[in-house]
């Protein structure tokens, strides 16, 4: 069973990678998941987890996943915002775990915005 002692091993493995990340800080891509009560009850937590999982397995060192509060559009939750330096903010709505994977693959890795999930595409 995993215990806190195992964290040391991960730390040692990561030490080298952190240096690389520090250099890339300036072009960091931010992915923000709305996580107020509305987001959570609509399924934001599995979305957040999937994004984290994908970022970890794909070793996307310049991507940071974080949470935000309510954006005032509760009926469109789960909402995911993507901030790529030098580009306009992209807002996805009604995201689920599968869509989150597609967003990582198409938008974050390959630079193609998933237009079918955009806010407004459904309306």
């Amino acid at each position: 069973m995993k215990s806190i002692a195992d964290i040391k091993a991960i730390r040692d493995k990561m030490q080298a990678q952190i240096v690389v990340r520090d250099k890339e800080q300036s072009n960091e891509i931010r992915i923000v998941v709305g996580m107020a009560t509305c987001g959570i009850s609509a399924g934001a937590r599995p979305v957040f987890n999937t994004l984290m999982d994908e970022v970890s397995t794909r070793q996307l060192r310049n991507v940071k996943v974080s949470r935000s509060g309510c954006l005032g559009m509760c009926r469109l939750e789960p909402i995911v915002e993507v901030f790529v330096p030098g580009q306009d903010k992209v807002t996805y709505c009604h995201v689920d775990a599968d869509k989150a994977k597609v967003i990582i693959a198409n938008h974050i890795v390959n630079g193609n915005i998933c237009t079918e999930y955009l806010i407004g595409a459904e309306e």
Partner: protein
């Protein structure tokens, strides 16, 4: 909310927003109840605000006039024969305790507490988050300060670290439960 752990995530966010330096989340399972206690030393609430905090039309939010977090956990607890109480004092902190009838058919499952804690951790900053799970005579405790000490400067919000912590919590809970779903 489909899982009690989602309520935990939702309520604990309030504690972080209240600028607490210590937040403790405890889940205790006994013969009849699953009890969630979330305690913080944040800014607290005035008696006046506390009196209406379980009203869905009370919120600190400015984007709209509805606040569902506390009403939802209260409703979930009462629907399955449990109880709900919240105490708070300005500048001292807030304690929320919700008990859920363990054997009630209306009680949502506990779900992945690991996922909820993992989701909270990137935003804790300097706050100390202590999670404990007590059931069947065993206890599991996770202390964010202890983890930070082990990490020795590596940020807590590295995906690899967060995923490890999630697995560690869920594995320990499953082991304590003897593989049964709570």
């Amino acid at each position: 909310m489909r899982e009690l752990s989602l309520n935990i995530l939702d309520i604990a966010e309030n504690s972080l927003k209240a600028k607490a330096t210590v937040v403790t989340i405890d889940v205790t399972v006994d013969e009849d109840f699953v009890t969630i206690t979330i305690d913080d030393n944040g800014c607290g609430m005035s008696a006046e605000f506390l009196a209406k905090v379980t009203d869905p039309f009370t919120t600190t939010r400015t984007t709209r006039k509805v606040g569902m977090g506390i009403p939802l956990i209260k409703m979930a607890a009462e629907q399955c024969g449990g109880s709900f109480e919240i105490t708070s004092q300005v500048d001292v902190g807030t304690t929320l305790k919700a008990s859920f009838g363990r054997h009630s058919i209306d009680r949502p499952p506990l779900g992945s507490v690991g996922e909820s804690i993992m989701t909270l951790l990137p935003d804790i900053g300097e706050t100390r988050l202590i999670f404990s799970y007590q059931a069947f005579g065993q206890t599991f405790v996770l202390d964010s300060d202890e983890i930070k000490q082990q990490l020795d400067g590596i940020p807590l919000d590295e995906p690899e670290i967060l995923l490890f912590i999630k697995q560690m919590i869920d594995e320990n809970i499953t082991t304590i439960n003897g593989g049964n779903v709570i």
